[in-house]
């Protein structure tokens, strides 16, 4: 008999049948009685004082039910951290980017709402604006927030070991700079919110989110209503990819409109609004100086990054730190200095994105290739020599409890036949490798842990209650699979209530890759708690000790004598007849250093465990057109343990598409003075089916000592390392190291031309 009945097996996800039939309801699909349409008026200027807003014309239009401006808000500035409180959801003083929310209306239909927006008269006084990190840091640059002199929003400084001494002792030192413009989430589902208030002051709200509790508390703060009256409801979510974790202005505005109208209101963003007015990924310049010994082992590294943060802080301290932290996890580096700056500009707001910092990640890896070339060491060997190992501490003092970095490098190398290909491929045909590592959560204060409840019905079926949210990656199924496995049930015996802040306990949210590790562990503990109670009754019925019992196929049986068994339903009924309802409670708090802080104290256990991934890709480049054709990809990640392998493969493949195929070949925003010129699906090029290469998935399992069944996280190391592998392969194909990403045909042709004229 297999050790597990469900864990480790390919399972049909519980949520996907409803998605195949059109039955699944997303926020924009929701219809409530008497519901109104909400629309938002946005700033046409990148930087301007708001002198006056006249809403009288809009208010008089028949069919308009409410108009809201800053006057309807408490005026507080909100921020993720106490030191980043800089954003009013309807600004009182000035606008800071083209597209910022200024006012909003609710009306009986869309046409009326749009007409009403045209009747709102806003008087602005235009201010000088800045659209790049360089311009923003000039001595006379306009100041975007008074509280941030020089427009420096965040400075993360990490200095470990003795970097200067490390360089002195190095055999070879080089410094290179890399850059990449903004990229975007382009979730399939454009942002949408539905809100309704009742006359008791209770708010019900639905929106795509990566953490319902992370939405509820800020909503309570800015609306000045108690947390128990904010009820973020569960709804299907069309992707997040690191976005949708924070409260959005649309959430607040929709709630304000619903309260003022005393009717439900729905706001559905257009694709353009989703691109410009939710979040984008940061643009970045990274200067990386690395010193190595004769064998290519990194002795010292000094990195300076400047990230364009746009107009507000958002999750800035995290976004500045994570690119570095991923790399300090992936590779050993004893002496390291990191100066990460997030700079305000008059551009849309930037948040955390699945492929954190292309310029940084690709820069570190590409530089390893350059160093390897100088030393005569091949890139795969360079990575093996620097790979993080189990039992290490990272420079910022995180213990690495499990680590398959080297194994992922070796396995992708073997399967791709790296050694037979490296240096032996014909011109314009290349192969590249990238490695990276991702956290499974990070310190989040009182929000860092997850709690779960389980209750049994008299037939032996259960309901699991958890705060974990599913953005599309399969978290709902993961919870059900764990609870069913632990209690000897099938997925069909389990109902799930989750991602609803009224019913479910607190949870950190899905954006930090912690849901399997933290939320999954909580559900497992709740199931074990319920199991203990079941076994007490079963043991007395079977006249054995609890310790000899196990549960499977809805029965509780004696391990060495399975014929001695009792059905789950009988045990539950026995308990009920004696006045006890069977339930379970579990709570999991990851062992992280609570004193660790992004800016003040970037040291201590960051995450209880880490995933490690390697991607290799093989490409050809057409020297006439600069077009890249990706022949094949090999993706490997140490996931701890694969709970549902087919779901993990899906994460690998999706990560490779977004990080590599899109992130390194086609995806970037283009600008004209703070205006995004390609906010639409037609102009921003995400990968299509025809673009994608064959992907070979290699799942590496290191059985993490504390993950549920040894599991960690699925796929984010792939998304990041894919960008690096694509980058290395293209540079290898054309014989030029390029330093401005993504690698579009125009840049590739220019690089080939420059190389040929040398």
């Amino acid at each position: 008999m297999d050790k597990f009945s469900l864990i480790g097996k390919n399972m049909r996800r519980v949520d996907t049948t409803s998605k195949a039939t059109g039955e699944a309801i997303f926020s924009a699909d929701l219809v409530l009685p008497r519901m109104l349409v909400g629309k938002v008026l946005r700033s046409p200027h990148p930087h301007a004082k708001i002198l006056n807003i006249d809403t009288s014309g809009a208010e008089k239009l028949p069919g308009v039910m409410a108009v809201v401006t800053a006057k309807d808000t408490c005026g507080d500035k909100w921020g993720v951290f106490r030191y980043t409180q800089d954003q009013q959801f309807l600004p009182t003083e000035k606008v800071r980017y083209v597209g910022e929310e200024v006012a909003a209306v609710s009306a009986i239909d869309e046409d009326t709402a749009l007409e009403a927006l045209e009747l709102i008269n806003v008087e602005y006084e235009k201010l000088p604006a800045v659209f790049s990190v360089e311009a923003s840091l000039m001595p006379n640059a306009p100041i975007i927030h008074d509280a941030y002199p020089n427009n420096i929003n965040i400075h993360v400084k990490i200095d470990v070991g003795d970097v200067e001494k490390g360089f002195q002792e190095s055999f070879y030192v080089r410094e290179d700079s890399f850059s990449a413009p903004e990229d975007s989430y382009f979730q399939a589902e454009p942002y949408a919110v539905v809100a309704q208030f009742d006359h008791s002051g209770n708010l019900e709200i639905w929106m795509p989110n990566a953490g319902p509790h992370l939405k509820a508390k800020p909503l309570s703060n800015v609306l000045k209503i108690p947390l128990n009256k904010v009820r973020v409801r569960k709804i299907r979510i069309g992707g997040a990819f690191g976005g949708r974790s924070e409260i959005s202005p649309a959430d607040t505005i929709c709630a304000l409109l619903a309260r003022k109208s005393q009717r439900p209101v729905k706001i559905v963003y257009s694709r353009e609004e989703n691109s410009i007015c939710t979040r984008q990924a940061h643009s970045m310049n990274a200067t990386i100086k690395t010193g190595v010994d004769k064998e290519g082992r990194v002795i010292a590294r000094d990195i300076t990054c400047h990230m364009d943060g746009g107009a507000y802080s958002s999750t800035g301290p995290i976004a500045v730190s994570v690119p570095f932290l991923c790399m300090e996890q992936a590779y050993r580096m004893d002496n390291v200095r990191y100066n990460g700056y997030r700079i305000f500009t008059n551009k849309p707001i930037r948040g955390m994105f699945r492929t954190h910092g292309r310029a940084f990640a690709c820069g570190v890896d590409l530089q390893l290739d350059m160093i390897g070339e100088h030393l005569g060491i091949n890139p795969l060997e360079m990575r093996l020599r620097n790979a993080r190992q189990k039992g290490d501490y990272t420079p910022t003092k995180s213990y690495v409890a499990s680590c398959g970095m080297s194994e992922t490098i070796q396995k992708t190398g073997e399967m791709s036949k790296w050694n037979e290909k490296w240096g032996k491929l014909p011109p314009y045909h290349g192969i590249g490798i990238g490695c990276n590592s991702v956290q499974t959560g990070f310190p989040m204060g009182i929000r860092g842990g997850s709690q779960a409840f389980i209750k049994f019905n008299e037939e032996g079926g259960i309901t699991v209650i958890s705060g974990v949210v599913d953005n599309g990656q399969g978290n709902d199924h993961m919870l059900i699979q764990i609870a069913a496995e632990e209690l000897g049930l099938s997925a069909n015996d389990v109902q799930l209530i989750n991602a609803d802040t009224e019913v479910t306990p607190s949870d950190p949210g899905s954006y930090s890759m912690c849901e399997t590790f933290v939320g999954g562990n909580a559900v497992r503990l709740a199931a074990q708690d319920a199991k203990k109670k079941l076994f007490k009754y079963a043991a007395s019925a079977l006249k054995v000790d609890c310790s000899v019992l196990d549960a499977r196929d809805k029965k509780i049986f004696v391990k060495d004598s399975p014929d001695q068994n009792i059905s789950m339903s009988k045990v539950v009924r026995m308990a009920l007849s004696r006045g006890e309802a069977i339930s379970g409670e579990g709570s999991y708090w990851p062992k992280v250093d609570p004193k660790r802080e992004w800016v003040e104290n970037p040291s201590g256990q960051l995450s209880e465990t880490f995933s490690f991934g390697t991607v290799i890709v093989e490409v050809t480049v057409d020297p006439e057109t600069g077009q890249v054709k990706v022949l094949e990809a090999w993706a490997s990640q140490d996931v701890g343990y694969a709970l549902n392998p087919i779901v993990i493969e899906g994460q690998f493949e999706g990560g490779l598409a977004m990080g590599g195929q899109g992130g390194m070949l086609t995806e970037f925003h283009i600008w004209n003075d703070g205006r995004v010129l390609n906010p639409t699906q037609l102009d921003y090029k995400v990968p299509l089916a025809i673009d994608m290469p064959k992907i070979n998935n290699i799942i590496v399992e290191t059985i993490d000592p504390n993950g549920p069944y040894g599991a960690k996280e699925a796929g984010m190391s792939i998304a990041m390392s894919a960008a690096q592998a694509y980058c290395g392969a293209i540079c290898n194909a054309i014989g030029v190291y390029m330093n401005d990403f993504p690698l579009t045909p125009d840049k590739i042709l220019k690089a080939i031309e420059e190389k040929d004229t040398k």
Partner: protein, 159 residues
Amino acid sequence: MEKTTKRIVKLTVNKEIHEVAINVNRTLLEVLREELALTGAKESCGQGVCGSCTVLLDGLPVRSCLLLAVEAEGRHITTIEGLSCGEKLHPLQDAFVEHHAIQCGFCSPGMILTASAFLEKNPSPTEDEIRRALSGNICRCTGYAKIIGAVKALVDSGR
């Protein structure tokens, strides 16, 4: 803004006839979603690029965000809700679930309808033909591998 006049339009959707009073400037997508509560068709790009709003018009895939509802009068419209038959899933829906071709699921209705029209026309396609046929439908989650795999598995099974 001048209000357009409403017109009674007779639409045949999933073999049922609906008479709806609509402004003539309403797209088929809006009418399906707002008047007939058929929300399986999604708006993602709003400009006919992504394929999330795909429905079948006389068996052929169209972008319902680019088509006025009045233009669909007298034609047979199939939405994702009409693909399954009672409790029984269409073989493609079943294949998409079985082979994990669905993650967030926002693109799935359009993807499945496009695939079903394609297989009607070409019941035994090569993998490359499947890729081409589905390249007008954008998926941000899956990297397409499992979607292509699901269609291929169905073709190979001969169902």
